[in-house]
């Protein structure tokens, strides 16, 4: 186990750190998150925005769940499908020909990055929001709810990153994997329930599960799941797709 972490996982962590698009996209999410946190406080009470409340900090921490998740899904796709695009899969599999270990290393590295990114976003939101809420007479009093919000953000980020790795392994083509993710998000989860006249369907799809977990949007209109069930369902999707991707990708020839 320690050898696996010391070698294969370390290699994947180094791959993530050496790839500029990973760093740039995560820094962009951090900047976007800070901007939204500031804008939420400054625009509260104006036009159709509600007034500030003690729950604003908790909401602000959960708010970036899908944006951060989508970026991590993209990074996960780059980590797995990108190996085929740039042929780096050859030295990867020469160094570790036991392919299940390579899959496990990618999932582990991506889960780690997801957790770190989520904690960084939560810390940034807190650092920006707490002083601003205090100066706007809405100090964050309900701190007891914060761990649940942070946990939701971590689970969402880890899950999306792992889904990205699995999608990339399954499809091998970076562009196809990214287009598939977009089609899933906007067509399967957005339009299909309308076409099928099944408004409750999205609740049980990955995006709906994340909405339930992070208490985002207005899913309650068609019955959101309890947060813990949303988390379990989303985790099941991520684990399921990793298992399918492993079974499909491991026996493939690398030509």
């Amino acid at each position: 186990m320690s050898t696996f972490v010391h070698t294969t996982v370390t290699a994947e962590v180094r791959r993530l750190r050496a790839t500029r698009s990973t760093t740039v996209s995560l820094l962009a999410v951090l900047a976007f998150t800070a901007f939204i946190a500031v804008a939420t406080v400054l625009l509260a009470g104006h036009q159709e925005n509600g007034p500030l409340t003690a729950h604003n900090l908790d909401d602000a921490i959960r708010a970036p769940a899908k944006v951060l998740g989508f970026v991590l899904l993209l990074v996960g796709v780059l980590l797995s499908a990108g190996e085929h695009r740039h042929h780096t899969v050859v030295p990867t599999l020469l160094a570790e020909p036991r392919r299940r270990r390579v899959v496990a290393a990618k999932v582990t590295a991506m889960a780690g990055l997801g957790a770190v990114a989520a904690l960084a976003v939560a810390a940034l939101v807190a650092a920006v929001s707490v002083p601003m809420l205090a100066t706007h007479d809405a100090p964050a009093q309900h701190l007891a709810a914060l761990p649940a919000g942070v946990l939701a953000l971590v689970v969402t980020s880890v899950g999306y990153g792992v889904l990205g790795v699995a999608l990339g392994l399954l499809l091998r083509n970076q562009t196809t994997a990214l287009v598939t993710a977009l089609v899933w998000q906007f067509v399967v989860e957005g339009i299909l329930p309308v076409v099928l006249r099944a408004p409750s369907l999205p609740t049980y799809l990955p995006g709906g599960a994340v909405s339930s977990l992070a208490r985002l949007g207005h899913h309650t209109a068609h019955g959101a799941l309890p947060a813990w069930q949303g988390g379990m369902l989303f985790t099941a999707y991520a684990v399921g797709l990793v298992l399918v991707a492993t079974v499909v990708s491991v026996p493939r020839d690398v030509t």
């Binding site: 010391h6 370390t10 180094r14 740039h86």
Partner: protein
């Protein structure tokens, strides 16, 4: 001292047989040239040897052990299959550090192999800005990271300038002199003829001939490897 053994190795892609019951042995302490026309099955054979392509039948081994079953595969066998195996956005040193971690060798080895292939000065540049010859040297550095007993090199002279080719020739000779096993494929037959001890020629996935180069030339009444190759494969 590692011997590479291919026993009845076969690979079929639907109706196409890329490698057809190929059997041969590559001995330690020698440079063995692996020759064949385009589409002869050289690259497929090397990829089966290294576990990247699954054989349809039989297997290829290093001292009787499949590549994937070796305790430390990349520290036992170093391979160069394609110069374009590094992310163009990564710096040369970073790219090798990723492979070094996966191989389980210390980072100081990265600087050693960069020095061996003459890329120390370019180590901080991004791979996307490397010339073809520099990429080839970087891929060779990757193959050497684990200080392996065996080297499997597919067209290592591609993109090298005359000085690079001369360096490669001396380098391969030195490795064989240390008792290592070196299997190298190339289309540059005149160049290869100056490096190899043994020759394996395949065509249409089948073994045409194998043996010591001087013995093969003598038995076929040829004096030049290129003539022998054309005589046997045309």
């Amino acid at each position: 001292m590692t011997t590479i053994t291919l026993h009845d190795l076969t690979k079929r892609y639907r109706d196409v047989t890329a490698v057809d019951h190929l059997s041969l042995e590559v001995r330690a302490g020698a440079v063995t040239g692996f020759l064949g026309p385009n589409g002869a099955g050289k690259s497929t054979t090397m990829r089966m040897l290294l576990g990247l392509v699954q054989p349809t039948a039989r297997t290829a081994t290093f001292d009787g052990v499949r590549y994937a079953a070796l305790p430390h595969p990349a520290r036992t066998v170093g391979a160069l299959l394609d110069p374009g195996v590094f992310h163009p956005g990564h710096r040369g040193r970073s790219a090798l550090r990723i492979v070094a971690a996966a191989t389980g060798v210390p980072d100081r080895r990265v600087d050693e192999v960069l020095d061996v292939v003459g890329l120390t000065d370019a180590a901080r540049r991004r791979v996307g800005g490397y010339s073809m010859g520099m990429r080839q040297r970087l891929a060779l550095a990757g193959a050497l990271l684990g200080d392996p007993e065996t080297l499997v090199l597919d067209e290592p002279a591609n993109g090298l300038d005359p000085e690079g080719m001369r360096w490669l020739r001396g380098f391969l000779r030195r490795l064989a002199g240390e008792g290592r096993t070196v299997l190298v494929s190339s289309h540059v037959l005149a160049e290869l003829a100056q490096s190899v001890d043994d020759v394996v020629i395949i065509a249409r996935g089948r073994l045409v001939t194998a043996g010591g180069m001087s013995d093969l030339l003598a038995s076929h009444h040829q004096t030049v490897l290129e003539e022998l190759f054309l005589d046997l494969t045309s």
